[in-house]
Symmetry: C2
Subunit: 457 residues, 2 copies
C-alpha cells in the first residue's frame, strides 16, 4: 500500500491503532472458514469519528475496507481481500447504555454477544439472539450477518431486536437510523438494509437493541427417534399443541455417533435422530409445556424421551448438542459446514435429498440443525489435500443449495453469503431483486470500497 | 387524462376494471383523514400481471399511481394526487394459502386484516398484528404503513411477520423478495424497504406472513390512576416482574370523560388516567399474570382495579377502549389525531408537554395510546371552518412532533408520514439518512410515478 495512504490512515486513527507488521497481517488473515487472505494494513479505531476518517481516506484512494469483529464468520464475509484495509472493530467494545425503564441496550459493534447477554441478565432483562459462537462473536458481526442461532423459532433473529443503528458509509458519511422506540415509521427502514449486508454497504458503529424480561425458567427434553421424519413431525405437533419451544435441535445418526465417540454421554446411537427440545418462560408453565412436549414426542414415535426436571438436568442434556461442532471436527481433516433453510414441512424431504447427495458423490454428510425454523447445517466431511474429494465436495455443496432452493428454501439461513456462496446467488435469489440489490450497493458505495467481492454475485 | 393513456390502461386491466365516472372518482377521493383529492381514473386490477401492466403504462406516460386498499389511512398516504391513477387493490382479496405445517399464510394485498385473522384462528393459528381499523383495513395497507396497533409491545408490528413479498415496480418489473422461511440472509433485505414505504417505491401484490400458535386465553384488568405518571410507572413495574402484557392502553381524563359521556359504562371520570392491561397465553398462566399485574397496579397507585375473571368480563372492560374513537369524535366537529412514539420512560414527560401545548395554544387535546410501546395518540379537537383555530392547531401539531423528537421519539409510530408530516421529516429524521432515502426512491422509481408527494420531504 502506498505510504501516502498509510500516513493518512495513521492520521485518521491516531497512534497505536494501525499496524503493517507481518504478524498482525497474518493474525487478521483468517475467519471461521478455511480460507485465508492477508490485508495490507490493520486499523483498530476506537470511535465513530475514527471509522469515518478511515472510510474517507479509503474512498478517496479507492482502497477496499473489510470490517471485522471476532472473525468467527462461516462464509468468508470478514476475510480480507488483496490490498485491503482490515478494519478491526474489536476495540469498540463498550456497552454504552442499558436502560431497564426502556428495556433496551446501546452497544458498540465490538461488544462480545455473550457479554451483552450477561450484562442485561444481571438487571433481569434478556437479549434472546444466541448464535453458536456467542462466547466469541461480536454484536457488530451479528448485525452484519443478521445472525440467528437455535432460539429463532420462538424469538427471531438479530435483526428483530435492532431498534437503531449508527452506520458510517464510504466517504465517511455518518447515518443515524431508527432509535430508541419500538415503533417508528418515519422514512424508509434503511437500518434493515444494513442488517445482514455483511459490511458491503457501510460499517455499523453503534447498535441499539430492544430487550425483553428474562424468562424465569428453562427446561429440556431429549428424544431418540428411530425415524428422523417422525422427529420433524413431532415439532409440528408440539407447535399445534400451542407450545412454541425455545429450541428444537435435531442431530442425525452421524452427528450423534460423532458426539458419543467424542464424549461418551450414553446417547442412543442406533436411532436415526435425536431431538433436543427446550422451553422457557414462567416456572410453572415450562413444567407443563415440557410435559406436553414429552408426551407428543413419545406419541410421535420417539423410542425414549429423557426429560430434565431441573436446570442442572437440562444442562446435562445440552452437553450432547454443545459438543456437535468439536465432535464433527474429529471425524475428518476438514469439513464444509452448510447452512440451508427450508420451510419446516420440507425438512424430512431435505434430509432425504442430503442422503442421496452424499451417496451419489461418495461423500459423508452429517446433519444437525434448528429444525423448528427449518435451518439445517449439513456438514460435508473432507480432506482439503485431496483434490479429487474436494471436486466432489464442491459439486455436492452446489447440489445441497439447489435442493434447498427447489424445496422453497434459501441459500443461507444465518451464516451469510460471504465469498463462498456468491456463485449461487442467481440460483437462490430473484434475478430482478439482484439487479436492484446491485443498485443499492452502487448507491451506498459508489466506488465499491466496502468489503468488495462479498455478498452479491 | 389523455384518451390514449386511458385506452392503454383499459387494455392493461381488461373490461370492467377501469372507471372515469364522476361518482367513482368521488368515491376514491378520500382516505381516513379530512383531506380530499380526486384521481383522473380508477383501476381495479385482479392479478399481478394487471398491476404490472398498469405500472408499465403509467411509467411510460409519467402518470402518478396511487395504490389504495380500504382507504383507512390516517396520514393521507393513499389519497390521490392531481392527474393520478387510483390503483384500487380491493379486488385482489384472496387468501392464497394457509399452511399449518409451515405456520404461515400467503395473501393478496386486498385481504381484510380481520378476515385473515379469523381464517387462521380457525386452524389454531394466530396473526398478531391488530391495527384499530382491523375490520376495514387491508393487509396491503398494513404492509405499506408497517401498521402497529395495541399488541406491539408483546408481538411487534406488521413487518415483524412478513416473510415474503411480491412487489411491482414502476415500469412493471416484478420482484419476489424473501419467501417461506423464517431465516434468510441471502442478499439485502429489500422487503423491509417496501414495508412502511407507503406505496412510494412500488406496489405490493402478494404477502407471505408467519403465524404463531393461537394463545389459549386472554384476560384483562382496568385500573384507575389518580396520577397518570403512576400508570406509566406501573407498566414498567409489570415488565420488570417478568410479565409482558398483550396490551397496555392508556386513556387520559379527557378521553375517559368522552367515553363515559358517550356510553355510560360507569368509568371513574375523576382520575387522571385509566390503564387497560391484558395478558394472553396459557390459561393457567394468564390467571397468574393478571393477578401479578393487578397487584402491581394497586401498589403503583391505582385507586381501583377491575379484574376480569373471564373472557366475557374482559370484553366488558374493552368496551371503554373500543369506544374511544367514536366518543372523541363527538367532542368537536373535527379532530387531528396524532401518532407520536417516545421511549417508554418518557411517556409522563410527553403527556405533561402535551398539557403545556394545549394550554399555550388554547386548544383541547385528549390523549390515549399504547404506552407499553411508547405510542401516544394525542388528539387535537378543532373545527375546520374556524381558520383562527386551525392556525393554532397547525402550530400545536408541530409542537407535539417537536416534543416527541426532543424526548428521543419519532414523528410517527404507526400511521405513517403520508402528506401530513412531510414538512417535519427534516426535524425527525437524520439528514444524511434522508439524502440516501431520496436515492432509494430514485433507484426504484426513477420517473417518480409511485405515489408522488408522499412520505419523503
Amino acid at each position: 500500500m502506498d505510504s501516502k495512504i498509510l500516513t493518512e490512515l495513521r492520521a485518521a486513527v491516531g497512534d497505536g491503532r494501525l499496524s503493517t507488521a507481518a504478524e498482525d497481517l497474518a493474525t487478521y488473515a483468517y475467519d471461521g472458514t478455511w480460507a485465508e487472505a492477508r490485508p495490507d494494513v490493520v486499523v483498530h479505531p476506537e470511535t465513530t469519528a475514527q471509522v469515518a476518517a478511515v472510510l474517507r481516506v479509503a474512498d478517496a484512494y479507492r482502497v477496499p475496507v473489510v470490517p471485522r469483529g471476532s472473525g468467527t464468520g462461516l462464509a468468508g464475509g470478514s476475510l480480507p481481500v488483496t490490498g485491503s484495509i482490515c478494519l478491526n472493530l474489536a476495540r469498540m467494545n463498550r456497552i454504552v447504555d442499558i436502560s431497564v425503564a426502556d428495556t433496551l441496550a446501546v452497544a458498540q459493534p465490538g461488544v462480545i454477544t455473550y457479554d451483552l447477554q450477561k450484562a442485561v441478565e444481571k438487571l433481569g432483562l434478556f437479549y434472546p439472539p444466541d448464535p453458536a459462537s456467542v462466547y466469541q462473536c461480536t454484536l457488530g458481526g451479528n448485525v452484519a450477518t443478521n445472525a440467528g442461532g437455535p432460539r429463532c423459532l420462538k424469538y427471531g433473529v438479530t435483526g428483530d431486536y435492532v431498534l437503531g443503528l449508527e452506520v458510517v458509509l464510504a466517504g465517511g458519511h455518518v447515518l443515524r437510523l431508527g432509535g430508541r422506540t419500538i415503533k417508528d415509521v418515519a422514512g424508509y427502514d434503511l437500518k434493515r438494509l444494513f442488517i445482514g449486508s455483511e459490511g458491503t454497504l457501510g460499517v455499523v458503529t453503534e447498535i441499539t437493541v430492544r430487550l425483553i424480561p428474562k424468562p424465569a425458567a428453562q427446561l429440556t427434553a431429549l428424544a431418540a427417534f428411530p425415524k428422523l421424519a417422525d422427529a420433524c413431525q413431532a415439532v409440528g405437533a408440539i407447535l399445534q399443541a400451542g407450545v412454541t419451544p425455545l429450541v428444537t435441535e435435531l442431530m442425525d445418526q452421524g452427528t450423534t455417533r460423532a458426539v458419543e465417540g467424542f464424549k461418551h454421554l450414553g446417547l442412543p446411537t442406533d436411532v436415526e435422530a435425536l431431538l433436543l427440545v427446550a422451553v422457557d418462560g414462567d416456572a410453572e408453565l415450562v413444567k407443563a409445556e415440557i410435559a406436553t412436549a414429552a408426551e407428543i414426542l413419545k406419541r410421535s414415535g420417539a423410542r425414549e424421551v429423557r426429560q430434565a426436571g431441573s436446570a442442572a438436568e437440562s444442562e446435562a442434556l445440552w452437553e450432547a448438542r454443545r459438543n456437535v461442532s468439536p465432535a464433527i471436527a474429529r471425524l475428518a481433516r476438514n469439513k464444509l459446514g452448510e447452512d440451508v433453510t427450508v420451510p419446516r414441512s420440507k425438512i424430512p424431504e431435505m434430509v432425504a435429498r442430503l442422503g442421496d447427495i452424499a451417496r451419489t458423490n461418495d461423500l459423508r454428510i452429517v446433519v444437525y440443525g434448528h429444525i423448528g425454523d427449518g435451518n439445517l447445517h449439513p456438514t460435508i466431511l473432507c480432506d482439503r489435500r485431496d483434490a479429487a474429494i474436494m471436486k466432489r465436495v464442491e459439486k455436492a455443496a452446489g447440489e445441497v443449495l439447489a435442493a434447498a432452493v427447489a424445496l422453497g428454501g434459501t441459500l443461507t439461513g444465518e451464516h451469510g453469503i460471504g465469498i463462498f456462496k456468491r456463485a449461487y446467488m442467481e440460483m437462490g435469489v430473484d434475478r430482478n431483486a439482484l439487479a436492484w440489490m446491485a443498485g443499492i450497493k452502487a448507491l451506498f458505495d459508489p466506488n465499491g470500497i466496502c468489503n468488495p467481492g462479498k455478498k452479491l454475485p
